[in-house]
């Protein structure tokens, strides 16, 4: 006979205020071997109480009635393990989140429900069998997805700790959004000086394999040993030979130009292009969708002129190292790279909402731009070389209005605060005032949010510089016949409507998770939370871990944050990866599919339904322990030959019977 110990937690007043703990003790005292309660079962004295009960052989199965197993299951398991019992002979009845918190108004029924939840846990714990952790060898390498400030910081930290890093970036160059900026708050230090050196360090670190212009196609396996498939996009330029001189980009005809992504559409780029002057690697890329096939010479073909001389396109002719050969037949699908890594850091960054969504802000006007576009106007590598001019007519504006909370703090779009807008608007406004003091600058805000070190001081300095802060959400913008823009606002400080006429409007549009990051999340099984960003495992205790073991998050893909916070999170993610991979082998929970070989008829259904390709059927079904995620789909086996360890059909039936019985 098993000896069951039941431990009921008051959780301060969280549980005990609603659920009658005395009643529970009275009810269960004859049904189990030991019943104890504690004000805080997650405290050290309570842990010691459980451990000594197990160690003195009073109990050999433990039921904890407390909060969600997500919080402290591992902590309770350690009490069993220390006492020499299999740590998986434990079951938690969640009488807080699933009982007291949701039934606060009905105490009697809540107590009844708690009884049932505990009864179910007791029934289940009786069926449990001792299990051992699975042990795997660790692959001492890491995949970092995204080459922005977060991805670069994490990669460098890991490389310095001795891990092999694969840094995959979808653009032809690393550097992310930050390389587009001129200066960053709160010190107004040069963004390029911060990022360029990091980019060079990443490129020259022998432990980092930089894979740019590439996307992650597939991730299989699990923590300790992921198998990664990366598709390297076709550049149609031999990067071994390309020296990044840019000769090909200047001869590409204007017919093949389109708005330049690096300048947020404010300038044009050719079909042959180098992303930016600071690009790393500085290599040319060919955009086949834009190419006009000069001289009717299509990719993969040769053309000979009369007289037998071969025709070369302008880009081929211009290239001093013969890196461009358009007669080679290239594979448009690119090249697939396969490698194994022990852990993954997702650092895919953010995008800002397009201005077109906001018709009320005269978004059709070329003089209404997004803040990211204005960053390019301020940047010395931008379309105006850092001069403050309107792109529409090249004239210096007399007045500029910045509008914050465009799409953020707005239930129609995003309820969250994008967090960085107040400060980058103050930064942009200050840069305008520093360069052109005669330009009038206004910032329209709901509030100014400048929390943290040096940031309020940054705001005060902005006011001192004569930047007009107008508290009140702007309701609309009208385009006037002379091209100026009239802002219809409200000054909440004065309680009066206000009109401001300006020449340029900058919208601080909300920060969002890009669609391709969402796609990536779907591919590798990450969760997107209600805010639309990637979900961390625990907002306070595991803020850099994703919901999947071995996959970590860094930077704005997890939520809006500024450079300092992004770097902090990237370093935290790198340290977390190191703490997990810095061992010979890793231990994984044994909740995976187990085949009863005698019952298996080798029908193959399980192999077909497994979403992780973890089952192969030969004479009998064989489970790949590394790939199995314990989802349980295969347990629908018609011969009942597959069970999930720890969640067997017997356990679950016993649980259900106790709940409804």
């Amino acid at each position: 006979m098993v000896k069951i110990g039941l431990y009921i937690c008051h959780c301060g007043r969280n549980i005990a205020d609603v659920v009658d703990v005395k009643n529970l003790i009275e009810y269960f005292k004859d049904k189990v071997n030991v019943v104890r309660d504690h004000l805080f079962m997650c405290s050290e004295p309570a842990w010691e109480m459980i451990r000594s009960d197990v160690a003195s052989k009073l109990v050999d199965r433990v039921v904890i009635a407390a909060c969600s197993p997500q919080n402290h299951e591992k902590f309770f398991r350690s009490a069993l393990e220390t006492a020499g019992l299999s740590k998986y002979l434990l079951e938690i009845a969640n009488i807080r989140e699933q009982c007291s918190w949701v039934h606060g108004k009905n105490k009697e029924e809540a107590t009844e429900k708690a009884k049932r939840l505990i009864k179910a846990a007791i029934s289940k714990v009786k069926t449990l069998k001792p299990l051992e952790d699975l042990k795997f060898e660790v692959e001492r390498s890491v995949l970092v997805i995204g080459g922005g400030i977060a991805g670069m910081t994490a990669s460098l930290d890991l490389a310095k700790m001795g891990f092999k890093v694969y840094l995959v970036e979808k653009e032809p160059s690393i550097g992310g959004k930050l390389i587009k900026f001129d200066k960053i708050f709160p010190l107004n230090d040069c963004a390029s000086c911060v990022v360029s050196s990091l980019m060079a360090e990443v490129a020259n670190n022998p432990m980092i394999e930089l894979i740019t212009y590439a996307e992650v196609e597939e991730v299989n396996g699990s923590f300790g040993n992921f198998n990664v498939k990366v598709r390297k996009k076709q550049t149609y330029v031999d990067w071994e030979k390309c020296i990044g001189c840019g000769a090909c980009t200047t001869v590409c005809p204007p017919k093949a130009w389109k708005p330049n992504e690096f300048d947020e559409g404010l300038s044009k780029r050719a079909a042959m292009y180098i992303v930016s002057p600071q690009a790393v690697p500085k290599k040319a890329v060919h955009d086949p969708e834009l190419c006009v096939n000069c001289g009717k010479k299509k990719l993969g073909t040769r053309r000979f002129l009369r007289g037998g001389k071969e025709y070369l396109t302008p880009c081929e002719k211009a290239c001093p190292t013969k890196a461009i050969d358009r007669s080679k037949s290239w594979n448009p699908k690119g090249e697939i790279l396969n490698f194994n890594v022990g852990a993954i850091i997702v650092a895919t960054g953010y995008k800002v909402m397009e201005k077109e969504t906001f018709k009320e802000y005269a978004s059709h006007s070329p003089n209404v731009i997004t803040a990211l576009q204005f960053e390019r106007i301020l940047s010395p590598t931008g379309p105006t070389s850092g001069k403050i001019l309107r792109i529409s007519d090249g004239k210096k504006p007399k007045a500029i209005s910045f509008i914050s909370c465009v799409g953020s703090r707005d239930v129609r779009y995003h309820t969250y605060c994008s967090k960085v807008c107040c400060l980058y608007l103050l930064k942009q406004a200050r840069l305008v005032k520093e360069r052109e003091p005669d330009i009038d600058v206004y910032i329209h805000v709901i509030d100014v949010r400048a929390p943290g070190k040096d940031l309020e001081e940054y705001y005060i300095e902005a006011r001192r510089m004569g930047i007009g802060i107008i508290r009140g959400k702007v309701g609309g913008i009208e385009e006037l016949p002379n091209g100026r823009l009239r802002i219809l606002g409200f000054d909440a400080d004065l309680g009066m409507p206000i009109e401001v006429e300006v020449d340029l409007v900058v919208l601080a549009t909300a920060i969002e998770l890009p669609e391709d990051s969402r796609e990536l999340a779907r591919k590798i099984g990450l969760t997107v939370d209600p805010s639309g960003f990637l979900k961390e495992d625990h907002p306070k205790l595991r803020p850099v871990e994703s919901t999947l073991t071995g996959i970590f998050l860094a930077g704005c893909c997890q939520g809006p944050k500024d450079v300092s916070e992004t770097v902090a999170q990237a370093k935290a993610a790198a340290a977390s990866v190191a703490s997990l991979l810095n061992k010979e082998e890793i231990q994984v929970e044994p909740f995976i599919a187990k085949v009863n070989e005698e019952a298996c008829t080798a029908c193959g259904i399980c192999e077909n339904v497994c979403p992780f390709n973890a089952i192969k059927v030969k004479e009998v079904a064989i489970v790949d322990e590394r790939s199995c995620k314990g989802c349980g789909i295969c347990a629908s086996c018609p011969a009942k030959a597959i069970d999930i360890q720890g969640y067997s059909a017997e356990s679950i039936t016993a649980e259900i019977e106790a709940l409804v019985g």
Binding site: G466, L494, M496
Partner: protein
């Protein structure tokens, strides 16, 4: 009422008011603590402290020239004590008085105060003498001990810059 900001007609009033002694005006962040203790606010003037400072920051000249609130300041100094940003609202108020005087936009409140000094030697003037009599209070006395002293006060006023404004009683 609505106010309209147009660059063409805007003046840098922060500089003007700063030069007149209200250097703190640019620091105001509109927290409102000055207004929570200010008698001018309690009496119910339209644009007490922080509102006027906002108009200065926004360059709204007309309101600043015509608003009577600066003249209602009793120099109690509470605003200076509570200000979180070291604006010194009191000194901005006095700078605004100077601003109005320089623009020859002297509010009747100011005229009455100066008139009262001329008549009786002090700035506080009593509107209804009859009521005082009813309650058995003495007549409002002069700040001067004799008619000769009062003459001297008037002489000082006449020879000061105030006489140029044409607001002294003839």
């Amino acid at each position: 009422m609505k106010y309209v900001v147009r660059v063409e007609k805007k003046k840098n009033l922060v500089k003007v008011i700063s030069d007149l002694g209200g250097e703190g005006v640019s620091k105001c962040i509109q927290c409102g603590s000055c207004m929570s203790v200010c008698p001018v606010t309690l009496i119910g003037f339209d644009h007490p402290n922080k509102k006027l400072f906002k108009f200065v920051q926004m360059g709204e000249e007309e309101v600043l020239l015509s608003d009577p609130s600066p003249w209602a300041c009793v120099a109690c100094g509470r605003c200076i004590e509570v200000c979180t940003q070291d604006v010194n609202p009191f000194s901005v108020y006095f700078a605004l008085r100077r601003f109005q005087v320089k623009g020859f936009r002297i509010h009747p409140l100011a005229r009455e105060a100066v008139g009262s000094i001329y008549e009786s030697g002090h700035a506080i003037f009593v509107e209804n003498e009859v009521e005082r009599e009813k309650f058995g209070l003495p007549k409002v006395s002069s700040a001067a001990r004799s008619e000769k002293d009062l003459e001297e006060i008037r002489e000082i006023l006449k020879s000061s810059a105030i006489s140029d404004l044409g607001i002294l009683p003839r």
